[in-house]
Symmetry: none
Subunit: 218 residues, 4 copies
């Protein structure tokens, strides 16, 4: 009855919920949502099938809960104080790092959710509103600020935002497809992308003096 004892029970329940969610995400990523049975999940989480339903209403609900964990995780990332990063290139670099870290930490959850997003309108909307739109809003705000200070060319920020989101999403896709270059040479890739986004691929500018000369062909 003490606050501590209540907490112990609650803690145990939260742990179990978490364990089930992780097990499910791993299986969904490996075999897909539909090829994963509730039996599989129960075994992976070392609980009975019945117990699953003490924590989640249905198998679909499990996927939604994974989605919500993703949203929370991303929110944490976005909430970081980014106001100090007033240099556009620093900001872009920070964003690419953040993105990479996020994907690496939540690879399974992302993969299990993304495949369903393409065919599940409910999930699709939720993902768009809670994952994509917040990212875009933050990005757009940043671009606006940099524009006002003349740190960027006068390109429409709402469009540029789509480019950036498309790049990060597309890279994630290549990652899932196990493209060796994306997996093994991420740092070079990120540096090159920053270079192109800021300076373009047309000739006539100097390559940056920097640590990533490897992306430059002799």
């Amino acid at each position: 009855m003490s606050p501590t004892s209540t907490t112990r029970k609650e803690r145990r329940a939260a742990e179990r919920r978490s364990l089930i969610l992780d097990s499910a995400a791993r299986l969904f990523a490996d075999k897909g949502f539909h090829r994963t049975t509730t039996k599989d999940i129960a075994e992976a989480a070392d609980v009975s099938e019945g117990t699953l339903y003490n924590y989640f209403e249905s198998k679909d609900d499990l996927l939604m809960a994974i989605m919500e964990r993703l949203v929370e995780s991303q929110d944490l990332g976005l909430r970081l104080d980014t106001s100090l990063l007033s240099d556009p290139q620093d900001f872009f670099g920070w964003m690419m790092d953040e993105r990479k870290r996020f994907v690496d930490n939540h690879r399974e959850m992302l993969q299990s959710v993304l495949s369903e997003i393409l065919v599940n309108p409910q999930l699709r909307l939720k993902y768009y509103q809670q994952m994509i739109q917040p990212s875009m809003r933050m990005l757009e705000a940043h671009l606006q600020a940099r524009l006002k200070q003349g740190q960027l060319r006068g390109l429409a920020p709402d469009l540029v935002v789509r480019l950036v989101v498309a790049v990060t999403t597309g890279l994630y896709f290549l990652d899932v497809l196990q493209d060796p270059l994306v997996r093994d040479r991420w740092d070079d890739l990120a540096a090159m992308i920053k270079e192109v986004i800021f300076e373009g691929i047309s000739p006539g500018r100097d390559a940056p003096a920097g640590q990533n000369r490897s992306v430059i062909v002799e």
Copy 2:
């Protein structure tokens, strides 16, 4: 039994196969592969369930066949003589158009296949080898040629290729997510992207004199 009658028969069979494939693709895109039953497909194609199995070995085989049609369609696109497009910006513009046309023409097949790719290793490998790699090879060849002629800065082509593929894939994803901007302002978006890819977003270059000033903020 005459060659003509055989041909007629074969033609009819090919038409049926095609009809079944289209019906399946539409349903897969709408409801997803797993939520579509063979009964659904049979009804949509106006044949019996048994007949499906005269044309395809299994439901999985149907998905593979859709994939193969995609590959063939893309091959046709890539086979176009692109050697004449020696200007990098023209080439990029052509490529974005091509991409858009391909997505619009094969939206259903693409969507049905993509969601499974994320969770079906066999399909994933096939997609990577037969859809992604050919694109990348063609692109890389082009970049190499332009590089040699000094039309581009000396950025590693294998990396740049990933950027371009990531952008197009990511845009497709935003399209599926029904991002209004991607759907309604595609031309502006494409022009802006070309602009950024070639000239970057750093200030200090003139905006291009061109038809798409709408992407430029006043």
Copy 3:
């Protein structure tokens, strides 16, 4: 394609449907609707569980179908030309016989349906409207006719109808409860009831000169 071949298939299907329905009714009567599994039914009908669902939408639907068969059977009974039975006692006797025959022929279906009626509002309404009300209407019409001809005392027919329905229903209940007297001495019971309904149990009337003196105590 000939009408005959079509009929053969349809006949086979109708037979199967009937077989499934009979098997289900028997099991429902023995063990109750809820204690009977679809597996039980499939085994009893010697088909697979899947086949059940080719003929009926759900287990509930099976119960509804049993109900419908009951309704049809009763309709056949009621449709008999009763206009000739202008003597009230003959009519009552015919009705009791009819009732008995009906119960004997459909004992299982009745029992399976009645138990659910008490707790399933949908079924309850259907039973009341399609089984009870038609009986009552026919009875009331008959009573009205006899009244006009002065063959009965001036008792409100709508009320008397309830008495008659209550008696037959209640007897069925005693039958299900395996009351030995109802089972073994039905004819005596029916004769006594006719006697009471027409003449009452007050003293001062002669016992009928008739074939059923056994119901009279010496």
Copy 4:
């Protein structure tokens, strides 16, 4: 530990048992025994599921306990001193009233039990032996007494008893089926039934001078 505290505890336990039983009966009547879960009962009685099992061995046991309460209630009714009612019509009237009161007071318990009786042999036997047979014995004894005093015609009492039980049971059934007449015009119905049972429906007797002329058609 004092006798008082023990008593208090026992009283509390008895109250709880009673509360659980009432809650269960209400739910069984509403949704049926099988559609009611132990969780439902626990919530309705505001106890935990575990607690149910401190008071009752199983869910089936709950139904048996409801049945036992019914039996006890009826015994109380039957134990009333009926010897003074030596007039058959008074007795019959008292019995109908008693019946009505019983049904009204125990509607939920009756309904929950009756539906199971039809498909549960154990319960069926218990109901027959402890509810039906005692009623019939009392009735038969009364009939015998009246017969000896010449207050009734010489009809076999064991048969007449079935008629009376059938009528009351059948009326209960019509009540459950929500027949509007049974619900709204019970007094007229009871009066008419008494009239018919004693005097019959054949013409040639005077209608009784009484308070219920409404049952008589002009």
